[in-house]
Point group: C2
Chain length 271, copies 2
């Protein structure tokens, strides 16, 4: 098999995060891997809260334990520019990346506007955004057209965790193809299982909870250990398991340790 | 074949809009068909403008000639509650429906929040919203959970007009199945060609321009006549062909007449 900077081109799950840094030229992928190694965390918090106060409190609580803080900025009821100012302050304080889970899914010309303008001006503050490959690669080109020299990247939602999702094998394969054609912007996938063995791409898996239950709107869960060991997740995305916990810090630490230990176990087992 | 209130269950393209009113129990589908008949228009404007003033001027200009005013509210840079108040005033003045082209594409619990809360509170003002079937039917259930007694509906984006879109035959078929399972909320499709022959569902086709050109971000265009006659569109969605025209009213009238005449021709030919 081909190699990328000395590392096998298909060794995503067996390589350490340290070793993967040199396989990618994407500045934010490198930065993210460095954060993960330095903070010993592969936990992304899904910050599904509805007020600025809850958002910033959560960021300050879980900040030391996460590598990515994933937002739905469009559900914050009292959003203002100050929300973003405080959020960026937390990102600096705790050294995590901001990912707006916008799931862009429109034609290029439209997503370029949705990314850069309107009330949220996402491109100005979110290091990363999530994107559906559904519209074809014009969605990537549209986003890139709005980046304007900033250090930005995206993660393709290759697979969804909800019941009856239409992200079938073909869909996953096509998403992977689009990622490979646009590695200057795409730095990974959101998926339930491995999309690519390429060590440049980070696999982020949502729908993770310690206790495996389903909600009543079609969401399906796996444990941190199963996500990382069995499904090959590099980063687990946890929402309600932490945000609804009585003690957010304690819950974040538990998820962080479960996921990072599973990663160490995986690498050890495969090497 | 089965019949629905006397009309063949597969006569979507051959039936008149008048005849289709009685085939559906969806209050907004009925209302929309009534508007289309009364105003003799099957034109939807894609209001891709970036300020409140442009939005309201466009609504007042093209209002008499459209059945749906399709917004991307998240690209309006000076958005405020007053934007919505003025927009709703225009909808009442000119008797058109408001459709927020949000392309919801997340799990049910998330879209419920995106629909009802945050800055835009879409459910409070948009009669219709667009939705990707990608997450499975939890996306529909999530939206419905936020409707709270209002008269609301959605249109499934079954197919995209952009180059390399991943909306293949299976995807279209699965979208159609989800629509059939949720006719109390889904009232039609956004697609490039016929998704269903069921006369209850309205087919809306984007990517329509008088002059057939592509933009440089993957968008592909068809003419109004081809969209309605050849592809079976009930409603054409026109953006830049009208918004960028020197005379918006003149352009709207031209698109309206081209599309409505094509509809009359189609029905005449098939009956």
């Amino acid at each position: 098999t081909s190699t990328k900077n000395g590392l096998g081109a298909t060794e995503r799950v067996s390589a350490t995060f340290e070793a993967r840094i040199s396989t990618t030229n994407h500045p934010l992928a490198r930065k993210l891997l460095e954060i993960m190694v330095a903070k010993k965390t592969n936990l992304c918090i899904a910050a599904d809260v509805s007020t600025t106060k809850e958002l910033i409190t959560l960021a300050d609580n879980v900040g030391p334990h996460v590598c990515i803080f994933k937002t739905h900025i469009d559900i914050i009821s009292d959003f203002s520019d100050d929300t973003l100012k405080q959020l960026q302050g937390m990102a600096t304080k705790h050294n995590f990346m901001l990912m707006e889970d916008r799931k862009f899914g429109d034609i290029g010309a439209t997503v370029a506007n949705q990314y850069s303008s309107g009330v949220y001006k996402i491109v100005e503050w979110a290091d990363l955004v999530t994107v559906h490959a559904l519209p074809g690669d014009g969605v990537i080109k549209g986003l890139v057209s709005a980046v304007n020299g900033r250090s930005r990247g995206c993660v393709l939602v290759a697979e969804m965790s909800s019941q009856g999702a239409l992200t079938n094998t073909d869909y996953v394969k096509n998403s992977s193809k689009i990622a490979e054609d646009h590695t200057y912007f795409v730095m990974g996938f959101v998926a339930q299982g491995s999309v690519s063995d390429d060590p440049r791409f980070l696999l982020m898996t949502p729908g993770v909870q310690m206790e495996v239950l389903n909600d009543n709107l079609g969401q399906q869960y796996v444990t941190p250990h199963a996500a990382v060991m069995d499904k090959g997740a590099d980063i687990i995305i946890v929402g309600r398991g932490i945000t609804k916990a009585e003690d957010q810090v304690d819950a974040a630490v538990q998820y962080k340790e479960a996921a990072y230990n599973a990663y160490l176990e995986r690498v050890k087992q495969l090497q």
